[in-house]
Amino acid sequence: MTTATLPPSATLISQSADSDTQLLEVSMGPQHPSTHGVFRMDVALDGEHVVKLKPIFGYLHRNHEKIAENETYLGSMPYTDRLDYFCSITNNWAYALAVEKLAGVVVPERAEYLRVITGELTRLQNHASLVGFLMQDMGASGTPLMYAFREREKILDLFEALTGARMMCNYMRFGGCRCDLPEGWLAQAKQVVDAFPRFLDEFERLLSGNEIIMARTQGVGVLSKELAINAGVTGPMLRACGVNYDLRKVDKYGIYDRFNFRVPLGEHGDVYDRYMIRLLEMRESVGILRQAMRDLPEGPFTDPKTKVRNFRPKPGEAYGRIEAPKGELGFYLISDGTPNPYRYRVRPPSLINLTVLEDMCLGQNIADVVIILGSVDIVMGEVDR
């Protein structure tokens, strides 16, 4: 009776383990507040310990790639906002970068700076709210999340002033950006960026040394370096394992070779390291933003020679990738010379970072699954596409 309701795989586990124990299968999600969207995990529990975990998703699947194949190149740009709806600007950037590679478009210097400024602001607000969510998952109800959202709102106000939308920015165009900075924007942005380290100090004073947080996160959800590389984990999760791989340094896309910044690395690959890496990355982003705002040149904000309407790249293919806040976001495009892409593929970092979810959760407590998932930083709009 004890294992009759379990699928065959779970039954097998219970036989091979201690025969007195009883496996309990729990379906976490899809409507669970800690799953960051419509996401489900089939978890088999031995007492409180996880012995099996299968992520199940697709609830938000709308076949973004198929829609884009029936859409013009420019027509897909606003759709990319909806992938990772926290970071619409970096989604735009990755797509624009792939199309620029495909068609050989040159981006003017001012546009590159605008991209770096908006992209790094996106990273700031994504990491800040992620840390807030992680604390919420851990039971630090409300306060850290609201602190993070307070800062995020300031950045979203900047986005609204620049693009007209808080989250669905639709800001990039092939060969540049959609519009130039409005009057007074830069001064306001400088103010937000200058005030940001104070928020980080406050955040760190509140959280980093907190005994409960350390007890809950240190040594939890450990991911080894080798597995992380082999499983294609990217972004802060990979660097928390101590692998020095940041596309801003490796590919030097755009103008990232002009900025002086360091890549923070973790040692243990646990949840605490992932939390810490995000805090440190925010500090580095503030540094990049200060340099970019200082050096921002005058000039055109978009390439005047690139036609936006009736855009037809020559036949061929290109894979463009950037370091999005969640990891490597890539776009793979095949053109057949028509106004629509023949093949349009998104390489979503959240989906591929989920590959190792089971490996990180095995043997952990059920309560830790929530924070391990929280530290992966997933957005279902991107996982399901």
Binding site: G58, E65, L227, R347, T355
Partner: protein, 207 residues
């Protein structure tokens, strides 16, 4: 990564493997290597483990559908610099078309790449098997499942080949070029239908 240098090296290391450079005329200049499925695992292991190559990171895995109708354009655009042998192969494949799996490899250790591998199925109907590279790169796990789900390529040797985005009862492959959306997705009777039927019955006054 220069494929002209890599190709002879691979041919020497894995005797009898079929390799062909597919040139890419776009400004990105990302040429790719078409490999025969029978030696794919050996080749992938070699690419991953050889000290000066070390392609330890498989970034992107995706499928492409090439039905026969799309092929003439692709032969023109993609096979321009190839020799006569390759053109013959393509004319043979033309009536049926094929499905293609594309792998983008990078090296995290040596920080180079990409090397792009392609594998093609024999046709689009039944002979759609390719070897899975998940045993070499775990990152292909979910992505190969996605190709299986949306394109219908069957990856032999994949540890857990199930549908990933569509539901398990779904039968078609939505990313194929000739996919036709069904008129009605709700083919399964739901509890809701029962309730509706009873309601209609109630309103009709026959109760």
């Amino acid at each position: 990564m220069n494929l002209e240098q890599l190709k002879p090296e691979l041919e020497a290391a894995i005797p009898g493997c079929r390799l062909e450079i597919i040139s890419n005329p776009s400004p990105s200049g990302q040429h790719s290597l078409l490999i025969g499925p029978e030696h794919a695992l050996d080749l992938a292991t070699f690419l991953r483990d050889t000290p000066h190559l070390r392609f330890d990171y498989c970034s992107n895995v995706t499928g492409v559908d090439w039905p026969a109708s799309a092929l003439p354009g692709s032969v023109k655009s993609k096979e321009m610099e190839d020799g006569t042998e390759n053109v013959e192969q393509d004319t043979n494949a033309e009536p049926t078309g094929y499905l293609e799996a594309v792998y983008h490899l990078y090296s995290m250790q040596l920080k180079h790449g990409p090397v792009i591998l392609r594998m093609r199925t024999e046709d689009r109907a039944t002979r759609v098997h390719l070897p899975s590279l998940t045993p070499i790169w775990r990152s292909a796990d979910f992505q190969e499942r996605e190709i299986f789900d949306l394109f219908g390529i069957i990856f032999d040797g994949h540890p857990d080949l199930r549908r990933i985005l569509m539901w398990d009862e779904f039968t078609d492959h939505p990313m194929r070029r000739d996919y036709v959306e069904p008129d009605d997705y709700e083919y399964e009777p739901t509890a809701h239908d029962d309730v509706l039927r009873k309601t209609m019955h109630h309103y009709s006054g026959n109760a």
